[in-house]
Amino acid sequence: MRKKFILVITILLGAVLLSACAGGPVHGSTWSGLAADGSTVYLADGSVYAVNLSDGKPLWRYPGSTKLAFYAPPVVTPDGLVIIGSAGTDHSLIAINPRDINPETNAPVDAWKFTGAADHWVAAPLVVDNKLFAPNSDGNLYILDLQDGQSVKDATVVELGGRLWAQPRTDGERVYITSLDHSVFAVDADTYDVVWHENLGGAVPGSVVLSEDGMLYVGSLASRLEKFDPATGKHQAVVDAENWVWSTPALEGDTLYFGDVDGNFYAFNTSTGKLNWNPVKPDGPITASPLIKDDHILLATESGSVFAIGIDGKTVWTQKIGGKIYTTPVTAGDLIIVAPLETDFYLAALNANGGQVWTFTPEN
């Protein structure tokens, strides 16, 4: 009898272990999405949290579940709706209205919901006038009309292929979308025709950057930074990195700043076609995009640090946040907002000198 019991327990233990692999919306399942406007920080980390920018106090929470789990960076539309995409079993793209809070749940009410996608939302959508360009992991770019809450149900679908994990960018004429199937696409902003499609030989998890020289730049898991002619898609590698280039480069003047997953940080001058300085290696792998603030480049690393680096490549200050930072920080007002994983808190706000102003930990 005892042996039968041991056998059953062993099987159940296996079941529990395997079940634990599936999980629901858990903090740390993947890196979170972060956005901010003038007064509020929005964090998608399973649930979506709105936090007061000035003091880090919680404003509301849109709850996640196994069905609805949010990790894509939220996007605030011109009319004040917050668009969040689910990476749960339900693949809805939802616009919530922060001005309409349900008093019982303290969660914003849905303004509309788009349910036509077949896979996870990882990328933030792009708002252009009244249109929303929303790339999904099912390989489709969904173009939604934001003029009213009903039109979104009839999205225009542009089939691109691969998993689309990065926010599109536009120059007004074309919308540029990257894909994990190694591609960069240019889609006509009005007709939605694919103008060109180029293969980079490695997945492209970051967005393209439109530089002052009129060219596009994008990094890839082929460990290269590529330069594109936006009209034709003709491209060439301009920097061979040490490892995967995950992040979207940040542009300041004619210099592009980007990191790789080996932890190297590069400054590429688009005018000279050369690196401004030899790559520096702060303290860990870089998946977050750099930010330009004042005269500094802000950089977050997997080692849980935030660096302010001068345009000469020298470190101005460092702040150890703790945990691991994969999410691109955002700046709002005078603050730098960071969303680390594997820490007790979900957000940390730093001042311009790297001093910690507040942290945010959700209530249970």
């Binding site: 056998l7 099987i11 296996g14 996870h120 990882v122 490695g202 082929a222 460990s223 995967w244 998946t287």
Partner: protein, 252 residues
């Protein structure tokens, strides 16, 4: 340690995936065959144990103690254990391969999820698991195989109904395999036979549930493993096909 184990699985899977022309379903099938080869000694031991259990059913001493202690379960169990010891039989040997499957199933599930990398963090972890050269042109892996997305649970929609075909096939093949390897017992109160009988009910339900809930790549592993097991038993002439007929034991 566990992560190292997962990394080995991931590298082998990706290497096979590359060799077979970027087909992850085929990679899982070949990987399963590899697992069966590696666990061959265990399976052989299990078959040997099952055969010994089968022979024991017609042993006179065994039958005598069943009759003698029919009303004293505790004494019967003690006597059974004594006979097992004396004859060098491990009553759990027929369950061992099934139990061995669990760490493999868990590792394979995690390997599939990691290899198919449905989230950015998974993709980053994948990059650290791979020690093969020039994999950036393979990543992300193609998760499509036949009608399935191997990173997701499977269901075929027929007349508006989502039918979990793979889960059903997993449950059926697990049941067949369990029944074929189950020793025939005519002795009432035989605990090992009861245990095997219990396993032949619970395991198909459990694995069927896993197939219903988890990535369909895991179902491909279950089905391949079950079919290989059935073929292996059949080729060695050790399959009890009579066990598949409901009520066959009672009639005997």
């Amino acid at each position: 340690m566990w992560d190292f184990f997962i990394s080995i699985f991931v590298n082998v899977l990706i290497w096979i995936y590359d060799v077979v022309g970027n087909n992850f379903g085929l990679a899982i099938i070949l990987f399963t065959i590899l697992i069966r080869i590696v666990t061959w000694p265990l399976n052989a031991q299990q078959m040997k144990g099952a055969a010994a259990m089968q022979e024991l059913q017609s042993d006179k001493e065994w039958q005598a103690i069943q009759k003698k202690y029919a009303k004293d379960k505790e004494k019967l169990a003690q006597e059974q254990m004594r006979v097992y010891r004396e004859k060098g039989i491990n009553p759990f040997s027929s369950c061992l391969p099934t139990l061995i499957q669990f760490p493999i199933i868990i590792a394979l599930y995690q390997s599939i999820i990691r290899a198919l990398a449905s989230t950015p963090l998974d993709l980053l972890k994948l990059s650290r698991s791979i020690s093969l050269p020039n994999v950036s042109d393979l990543i992300p892996l193609n998760s499509k195989f036949l009608w399935m997305d191997l990173g997701r649970p499977e269901a075929v929609v027929i007349f508006g109904l989502a039918i979990p075909t793979l889960a059903l096939i997993v449950a059926i093949t697990t049941y067949i395999q369990a029944k074929l390897t189950m020793p025939t017992s005519t002795t009432p109160g035989d605990q090992s036979a009861a245990m095997s009988g219990m396993m032949s009910i619970y395991m198909p339900l459990l694995l069927g549930y896993f197939a219903l809930t988890f990535a369909s790549g895991l179902s491909v592993y279950f089905i391949t493993s079950n079919v290989l097991g059935i073929v292996q038993y059949a080729m060695q002439g050790k399959a009890n096909w009579r066990n598949l007929i409901p009520g066959a034991l009672q009639k005997k």
